[in-house]
Structure formats: structure tokens, C-alpha cells
Amino acid sequence: MGNVLHGFFQSTKAAMLAITAHGMRSALTTLGIIIGVAAVITVVAIMESLSTTITDQLDDLGSDMVTLQAHTNPEQEMLGQSNKLSYDDFLLLKAKTNNVSDMTATMRAFSLGTSVQYGRSNTQTQIIGTDSSYQRVINTYPELGRFLSESDDLRRRRVAFIGSSVAEKLNMPSDPTGEFINLSGDWFRVIGLAEKRGKLFGFDQDNYIIAPFSTIRSLNGSQVTDNIDIMFRPSKGASLDKIKAQMSQILRQKHKLSGDDVDHFKFVTAEKTKKQFAEITTAVTLVAGGVVSISLLVGGIGIMNIMLVSVTERTKEIGIAKALGATPQFILFQFLVEALILSLLGGIIGLAIGYGLAAMVAMFMPGDGGIMVPMWAIILSLGFTTAIGVVFGLAPAIKASKLNPVDALRYE
């Protein structure tokens, strides 16, 4: 036992000496590993912080928010049918559904088009008609001014709550409340400016105008049948499935759907979007991880190559060691430890560089610019480099340990 420990200690010492004696070569040897690990850590850290940023944003959007939309399936579409949800549907659901905390109706102001004008500036945006409960459902709060009130809706006021991009694009003053904007000939007074939400997948989340539901409804005119979206949030602890079932039953009854008719509507949840996104990031991480593993493999082969060169170059040294009484195990261990130290060193340096790179990239990304390297990535890359050290160090180490002393001594 003491013998094993002694051999372990002395051969590790010899390995360290060899590494420091060939500083430049050791550094170059580890370069492959450094690059490989740095790449893994950078990619994983970026993907990770990107996905947290986006998950956070989706949470802001209200991940527990559910949207109920009209849905026309392809067969019905071919028959020229177009299903709709009406304001009456909304009122009925609002009155009859249990376990729902906030429910709001939104309507596209298609009669107003999508262009908006202020002074000489104009821009394209989306105009949504909804009521005061909308802000609680979708977590949109005023930065300046106020959101729509119930009386705005009751009195069909021509007021607008605008996203920050709209104010920016229209070159409005920093406090745009009280200003008037023109929506296809109709003047609306700005009553509030929304908090900025930033971009999601490059999609501007601040480019919208919200006006009272009744105002938009009257502007759309009675000649067109309403088509609205209904958004709601289940009460705390309530089962979404039960709510869905209840709503479906109410709507099917109202739309006079019988046994095997398909629904005229569908439920959309942010949870689903989140899940899809998580799948995408996992896939990207896996692919990037795979590509980067190849570079780690190349790094490992680099280590093996240099170790083989090192064994050849130090043949005489090995011969002397063996002539003076070094056992094959001692030599084997020395070269193995040398490979191991080199690859682990590369792994640790790569970790630091990868972290730095990821932090740099994070500064150009949306979100708070924070960066985190998940523990699994650290353990994985260090584990992998250790394995590389052992696997690729083994062949040269065995070669060294098997040398015949006289042959090794004769080597020049």
C-alpha cells in the first residue's frame, strides 16, 4: 500500500517536472482541449442564458394565460365556412365559467387598418380593442399615464394606450400622454404609455395600440360579425382541464354542435409556446454540443500525438529511469498523469475562457446580460477532458513503459 502511494506521489512529481520543463510544448498541447472546452462552455452558457431570458419574457407575458380563439378546420374552410367567436359568446362565458380570475375580450380593429399617424410621422402597428381587465391578464402596465378604464369602454371613448415602439416611431415627446394620434381618419387621445418589453425572437413586443373594446367594435361597424379572442387566467389552484371542459360545453351548446361535430374554437396557452421553445433550445444545444465534442476529440488526438512525440523524444530519459530501477508501472503512471494533468489543465483554462467569451456575447443579447454556466456543463466538460487524458494518454504511456532499457539508452 505504501509502495503504491509512494509510486503515485513520485510519478506525479516526475510528470509535473516534465510538464514545467517543456512549458511551451505543454501549452500548445493543451490548446486543442482549451479551444474545445471553451467552445462547449460558450455555446452552452449562451443557449442557457438565452433560454432563461426568453422563458422569463414568456412568464412576463403570463405563462398561465390562456387564449380562446375561433378555429376553422381545413375541411370547413374548403366549404367556405369561417367560424367566429362573438361578443355574446364572451359574455356568456364570463357569466357562466367558474374558477377563472380575469377574463377579457380582444378584437382586431380591422376597419382602422394598421397605419397610425402623428404629426408628419406614420408607422404600421396592430390595433387591439379590449377592456380594462386586459392589463391583468397579459401583465401590461403603464409606464406613464394610465391603462383603459371601465368608463372608457362604457362611453366608447376614443382613447389609446400605446406601446413604446409606437411612440418612438412616431417621434412623440417623451411623455406622449395627452397627444392625439390618427388611426385612418379617426383621432384618438393617448392616455398611457406601456412599459417596454423588448424583443422576443426578433419580434417587437412593443408595437401595438390598445383602444376600448366598445370603441373598436362600433368603428368596425355592425355590418361585420364580431370575431373576438377571449383571454383568461385560471384562478390559483384551479384545474385548467376542468375549465376548458366547462367552456367547451358552454360553447358547443351555444353553437349548437352535436355529438361528433368538431369544435369551432381552440385554446392556446403560453405554456405550449414555452415547451416548444425549450425543445428548440435543447435541440440546438445538442447539435452544438455534438459539433463541439468533435473538436474536443481532435484536441484529445492532439494530446496523444504530442505525448507520443514526447515519449520518443524522452526515450533516453526513460531508458535511464528504467536502468536505475523504475518499474514499468512507474513509467506508465508518470506518462498517464502527465496526459491527465495536461488535459485537465486545458479543461480548466478552457472553462475560464468559455465563461469570459459567453459573458462578452451576453452583453449583446437581450435580457439582463447575466450569464450562467450550468453545473452539468462544467462536470461534463471536465469529465470529458479527464477521459480524454486517460484514453489518449494510455497508448503513449504503455509504449514508454514497455521500452527495453538498453534499446532506450541507445536512442539518440
Binding site: 531508458g319 536502468a323 530501477g325 518499474t327
Partner: protein, 243 residues
Amino acid sequence: MSQPVKDSVIVLKDITKNYKMADQLFCALDGINLTIKRNEYVAITGPSGSGKSTLMNVLGCLDNPSSGQYLLGQKDVASQSEAELAKIRNYGVGFIFQSFNLLPRSSVLNNVMHPLIYRIMTNKKREALARNALKRVGLSDKIESLPNQLSGGQRQRVAIARALVTNPAIILGDEPTGNLDSKTTADIMALFDELHEQGHTIILVTHEAEIAHHCHRVIRLVDGEVESDITNAIEEPKEFVHG
């Protein structure tokens, strides 16, 4: 020769060593039969290329003979494992190489300490033993030098110190005084005499008649064969004097 087997440290039976050169076989050792007893003081002489170094490598377990049997301390060397051979090289024999074979990037002290790395002892003890060995060869003032900062004779003495530091039962010197002046040669020979008195077995390869004559037994190799094996008269000068 019929020595009692018990006393025989080294027994060679029909040892040959062949080298393949191009497609013909070169026979460096051609059927060596030899018995060396404990505490013998042997010189091996012979012309250059006669196989002296080849024989020493076999004796030091650094090389395998092509055929024949080598019994070292009653044990057949061919049946020893690599680990056992390593132990023999470390504990059993002290080898002084004709070409020194010092580690070029290690200091004199570290070179001499090198064989002790394979033994369990404190580094302090290793250093003390190495310093003592260096003192015996008269190199106490060069401890921190690198081998390439030393003269040929000084390097040779480092090689001798490294062979002595392990206090081996058998000392194998391949021309250990080849690079030394007469004064240093006398000092080193006095050292071997002292070791011999302490009971070590000493085998030296030499070209010099004086040294050969100083030893108790002279084996002459020619073309890989033992040409003569003479035991010197006992009454010889105690003090080695270089001609």
C-alpha cells in the same frame, strides 16, 4: 572451475548475444561461461568491440542475452518479471555507464538522487545519501551544476556517485576511470578498494593494464569469447599507483 555454488553471485552459462545487421547475424557474445563469487574484484579487458559493454549490459539486467542462462544470486534472470528486474536494477547492482547517461536537465544532486526516487524514504534522507556519495567522489562543490557544465571526468564521477548511492551488492563499472587523470583515477580506485573491503562485488571494464593488474582477477574478451581468465597473485600493492 568448481566453486561452491552457494558463494557464486553471478553464473553465466553459454551466454550469446546476436545482433541482426542487415540480413546477417553479428555475434557480439559467443558462448560466455563465467562464475563470479561474492566479494570478487574483477577486471574485464579486451580490444574495442570485443563485447565488454554488451556483457556488462547482460550482467546489469539491462539487456537480454540471445541464448544461454544467467543466474544472479542463484535466481534465473530470464524467469524474472519486469517489476522484479526493476528491483534488481535498483537494489542489486550499481551500474556505471561508459557514456555516463546522466539526465541533462537535472542538477548533479538530482541525478545522484534519481535511483532513490524508486525507494520509500524521505527526500531529506535521499539528499543526505546523495551528498555523501558526491563527497566520496570529490564533487561536493558541484552539487547544483548541470551535467553540461561539468568536465568529462567530473561527469564520470557523477555517474560513479549515482551507482554508489544505493549501496548495491554488485558494482558494475564500464570503464569508470576512462576520462580521469592519474590522480583522480587513484582516488576512485581507492574508493573501489574500500567498497571491496566492505564486501561489495566489483566488476570493472578497463583498457588500462595498471587497473587490470590492481584487480584480483582479469578476464580478457576477444571477439565475444573469453580468451583468458587469470587470478592475480595475492601479494600485490595495497595502494593503487598509476604508472
